[in-house]
């Protein structure tokens, strides 16, 4: 170890502060440039904003680099490094510490946001003289100003300590024992922050009054990028909690999870209902409102999780930013409502829905269900706060509530998802449904029988699994026809990619239903050589390994899972953290997971361990489903040949009969 001169540390922190200041100035300068150019109607001056945007992104990059250098060099004179990192933290987690705590995660937010603005500015550089593009950039820049403003003042990540400690406190150990922690927050932010881009274009469309379908086509790819990143980010978070938290679950309806889920729900509603607008020119008010809501929910979610108003496992990020975030949320809400109110009349759609039994009818049902879903999640999340405010009563709204309320909606969504692809636009004859839905329905029935043979029981789970089969059947049918007509290009584009994503959702549903409904568990007190059995899986406890890993005491139990090999769930006592942290070990297969966790640190000198064994069927299908959804979304981004115009959607021909 060497002693560093005090100068070097201060330089890094100064560099970071400087970078943030540059970022703030860049955002402010870009916004001012656009405001004056828009006010004076000098379209040629829009271009000048690009330089400001580059400046902002450069400043933010500088700040991020400064923070990373500080973290990697153990610069404990920086307060953020001192309170969130230690010398013994592995390099990967030192890098990831950037988003391990509040100030850093806001820095990441600003960084991702400036990345998005830069990408938008570059890809629209030829259309920058367009007022719509200028307004969109301005809107996004206003959001940038807010976040850089937080970093400049109340959430400054580059505070310094006059006396640098010899070692830092380190993150909550839960945040530094799995590589997923390095990816999950970044993906989540790519999604969360990404919705700022379509939000910017939605506001621009409202302000300029250009409410045709043009802006939708411009933002399509950006919306899909944000959506797929958020989807993957949420699933990675679920996977992380499954692999790390040791209770065998992946979703707890924790407020922070809900906060990421809310914009996903409205965003999902949007990417579906926007198809109706592209095709039929309808639902304009609705689609704009969904986008505005989605963005507002990202800010509201940040308020919920970053203000400390709600208890959660993610509490590491609580802070005093509450009023500012709430204020910004209110500002967005007022602006959005005012804009929609102002342009409301011009948003009236020219078309009408002819029959509920049509593709657009199915999209409407989808939207009704998704918004209801989002409403219930929001209500359940904030309800304890409301009750506490009204009569000072403490109560919890937990998983039983969400399960009870949301599972019927999930079932209905699966039904709509299966039926929609067999419906035609405008209206569908009963005979057409009878012909087209037969194969999917037969698939669903077959899957139900198979599920029963494999031991599934209970009306809800079996119905859900059957509907999942129905979804797979109707998606595969759609894809088969598209490929027969267009070759392999048939699996790309909105409908092809969408159908692939739906198959992913069905796989995810199978995994979710089976793992929550049919899991079995057992708790065993074992000495070396003892055996236990859960759901047909024999486990044998081999030995206990008790060792020191640096300052941490790690106890591993080697357990042989018959047919799967030896696994070693562990439990670690960190000196800087109160209770021991259990690290489960999972024997995964596509049939079921055998999830092993150590319950407590064994007593000194004793070789008796308590092991909890959980057998969960089809968990791996959830992650596989996520992969398929992501793949499908990427396929959906592939543009179809000859469909570059905003109004060329009629080129998408509908298959006729089967």
């Amino acid at each position: 170890m060497f002693v560093r001169g005090p100068g070097s540390c201060v330089v890094i922190a100064l560099l970071g502060t400087f970078g943030i200041a540059i970022g703030f100035i860049g955002a402010l300068g870009g916004a001012m440039t656009l405001i004056s150019a828009l006010a004076l109607k000098r379209e040629a001056r829009h271009r000048r904003a690009i330089a400001w945007i580059f400046l902002m992104a450069g400043g933010c990059l500088l700040a991020v680099l400064a923070m990373e250098i500080g973290l990697l060099r153990d610069d404990f004179s920086m307060q953020y490094v001192a309170s969130n990192s230690t010398r013994s933290t592995p390099v990967l987690y030192k890098i990831a510490t950037l988003w391990g705590a509040l100030e850093g995660s806001l820095l990441l937010w600003a960084f991702v946001l400036s990345g998005y603005v830069t990408a938008v500015a570059i890809s629209f550089r030829r259309q920058i003289q367009d007022r719509l593009v200028a307004w969109a950039l301005l809107t996004i820049l206003v959001v940038c100003i807010f976040f850089f403003g937080l970093l400049v003042g109340p959430a400054d990540p580059f505070g310094t300590l006059s006396i640098a400690p010899l070692d830092g406190d380190g993150l909550n150990p839960l945040l530094r024992n799995h590589p997923l922690m390095a990816i999950h927050p970044v993906m989540l932010y790519l999604g969360y922050v990404g919705f700022t881009v379509p939000f910017g274009f939605a506001v621009a469309a409202l302000v300029t009054g250009r409410l045709g379908e043009g802006w939708l086509v411009l933002t399509r790819i950006w919306t899909l990028i944000a959506w797929v990143s958020l989807t993957v980010g949420i699933l990675l978070g679920a996977w992380w909690s499954y692999e790390v938290l040791g209770w065998g679950g992946y979703w707890a309806w924790d407020p922070v999870e809900n906060a990421s889920f809310l914009p996903w729900l409205t965003g999902t509603a949007f990417i579906h209902s926007v198809l109706v607008q592209e095709r039929r020119g309808m639902l304009r008010v609705w689609n704009l409102s969904l986008l505005l809501t989605t963005f507002a929910l990202t800010i509201f979610g940040t308020f919920l999780t970053r203000s400390g108003v709600i208890d959660s496992v993610h509490e590491f990020s609580a802070s005093s930013l509450g009023p500012l975030l709430l204020g910004f949320f209110g500002f967005i809400l007022v602006v959005s409502v005012a804009l929609v109110g102002w342009r409301g009349d011009e948003l009236r759609s020219p078309g009408s829905i002819d029959s509920p039994l049509s593709r657009e009818g199915a999209f409407l049902a989808n939207n009704l269900l998704f918004t209801l879903f989002a409403f219930i999640v929001l209500l359940g999340t904030v309800f304890p706060l409301i009750v506490e405010a009204i009569n000072d009563d403490q109560l919890a709204v937990g998983r039983p509530y969400f399960d009870r309320m949301l599972l019927p909606i999930g079932i209905a969504l699966l039904l709509v998802m299966g039926i929609a692809p067999v419906l035609t636009w405008r209206s569908t004859a009963a005979q057409t449904i009878g012909t087209r839905a037969l194969m999917p329905a037969a698939t669903g029935a077959t899957v139900m029988v198979l599920a029963l043979i494999f031991g599934a029981q209970g009306l809800g789970p079996v119905l859900g699994i059957g509907l999942g089969g129905f979804v797979v059947g109707s998606s595969v049918r759609h894809l088969f026809l598209a490929v027969r007509r267009n070759g392999w290009a048939g699996i790309t584009g909105r409908s092809g990619g969408g159908m692939v994503a739906h198959i992913g959702v069905a796989l995810l549903a199978f995994g979710f239903i089976a793992s929550t409904s049919f899991s079995e568990e057992g708790e065993f007190q074992l000495r070396p050589g003892d055996r236990g059995s859960v759901a047909g899986h024999e486990i044998t406890f081999v030995e206990v390994i008790d060792e020191m890993d640096g300052p941490n005491r790690v106890v591993r139990a080697r357990v042989n899972v018959e047919g799967r090999g030896v696994y070693a769930p562990a439990i670690t006592q960190y000196p800087t953290f109160g209770r021991p942290i259990a690290t489960p070990s999972v024997a995964t297969s596509f049939v079921d997971d055998v999830y092993l966790s150590l319950i407590a640190i064994p007593e000194e000198g004793s070789d008796l361990v308590v092991i909890r064994v959980l057998v969960e069927p089809l968990v791996a299908w959830i992650w596989l489903g996520g992969l398929v959804i992501a793949g499908g979304t990427l396929l959906a981004m592939v543009p179809r040949r000859g469909r570059f115009s905003a109004f060329a959607d009629e080129a998408e021909t509908e298959e006729v009969g089967l």
């Binding site: 209770w247 009408s352 309800f383 403490q394 937990g398 009306l459 059957g466």
Partner: protein, 152 residues
Amino acid sequence: MKVRHWVSWFCVVVVSSLALVAAMVADDPPATEAERAYEIKETMLCPVCDGQNVLESNAPVASAIRAQVDQLVSEGRSDAEIRAWMARQYGKDVNATPPRTGIASLVWVIPVFVAIASAALMISVFRKWRVGRGAEVSDDDLEIVASLREQS
């Protein structure tokens, strides 16, 4: 539709219904004490660990609650009694299920109300659209038709 289709649909409906009935019959309600205790623990939150239930948590207080639940179940107390007892001991927010009485019941009622209201709204919009579609022949349309007739 052809007869073949009707027969196929009939088979699909019969097989699905039988499968669902079989699924329902196979699902026996929780009866044993262990199952009851498991379900109570699963729906009771650990007071110190933010959102985890006592079944999943390895905090000391969670294992204490687990033991108390086992004890109370074996004494033959009803679910409601056990939940009330826990709420008195550890605060109302140990129950993950919000109560169905008082102001808390709103969390159950509001979504149902919103669901019904929005479905009703959608149906009424549908009907308006369909009614509006029937009476769209304007005077202009009639004139055009008339002029075309004259020309022919």
